[in-house]
Symmetry: C2
Subunit: 143 residues, 2 copies
DNA sequence: CTGTTTGCAAATTTTTTGCAACCTA
DNA sequence: TAGGTTGCAAAAAATTTGCAAACAG
């Protein structure tokens, strides 16, 4: 149990190892990233930190995300004017986005392995990572 | 033959139909989008138009892309600070990017249909589009 | 002619950077 | 105490918008 706590501790250790310091703001930002299931935006994270530390600046949020990104512990989903972050599963995986309510979920796709296999066989590429985003309308928003 | 010309004509007709006007700048922007195999950025397109019309502004490029996007004749690939455009195949399709030589190819993936099917069955979403980018190293760059 | 488009500049939006004061280790 | 971090403001970078002059139909 405490998988999220363990992951948080692990990242904190990594931070210390690299000579980074653990500030109260960073702790909240890190926890928000690790606990969030819904791929928060910078503004989302900013809002959450502000609850506990009202003087926190956006710059600090950006800087902290940047540090955690260097550790490979958060996945950045690039969108033109609104990046989202996944600190829960910081490795490439498929996303399913509802274009109406903007929710993002992680579907389980057993067919992904065969697809990647086909890609490798057909092209001879060595695959390093991927970005698989599906856009649609979730069951709730279909009404 | 003349597939690209045909597509260009078709889009021009669509533009006229909707009450848009065909200006020389728009013609060059449109041709660049339709002919490009390399998913050009706004700056790429801007540079090409400038060759023929040195007074063209970036705003015009953005506005024209926006209009063509409304017609559904260009695909926008969102990156945080550098969108790319595909006016050659303006519908969602997988991309395979070599991280070394930056080449982009369009792989044929017969496994994509079953994967989408699995997604629909599992989640109940109505899928509207997708973005599938694979990052890897092409055969040539593996040496 | 009429109304759309252009091109310039200013405004927006997201993210980055510089730096003095501050705080963690 | 030393040096990384914060928070403010200014700077970048990409895109959008307002508007008068230009131009397509």
């Amino acid at each position: 149990m405490g998988e999220i706590q363990n992951r948080t501790e692990m990242i904190l250790d990594k931070l210390k190892e690299k000579g980074h310091r653990i500030t109260p703001q960073r702790l909240v930002i890190l926890r928000t990233l690790v606990e969030s299931q819904n791929h928060p935006s910078v503004e989302d994270i900013f809002a959450k930190v502000r609850v506990h530390f009202p003087t926190t600046s956006l710059a600090t949020v950006y800087k902290t995300i940047s540090v955690i990104k260097e550790l490979g512990e958060v996945l950045e989903l690039e969108f033109s004017g609104h990046n989202r972050y996944d600190g829960h599963k910081p490795y490439p995986h498929p996303h399913l986005l509802c274009v109406k309510c903007k929710k993002i979920v992680d579907p389980e796709l057993s067919s992904l392995a065969p697809l990647t296999q086909e890609l490798v066989s057909d092209t001879g590429y060595r695959i390093l990572s991927h970005r698989l985003d599906f856009y649609g309308i979730c069951p709730k928003c279909q009404n």
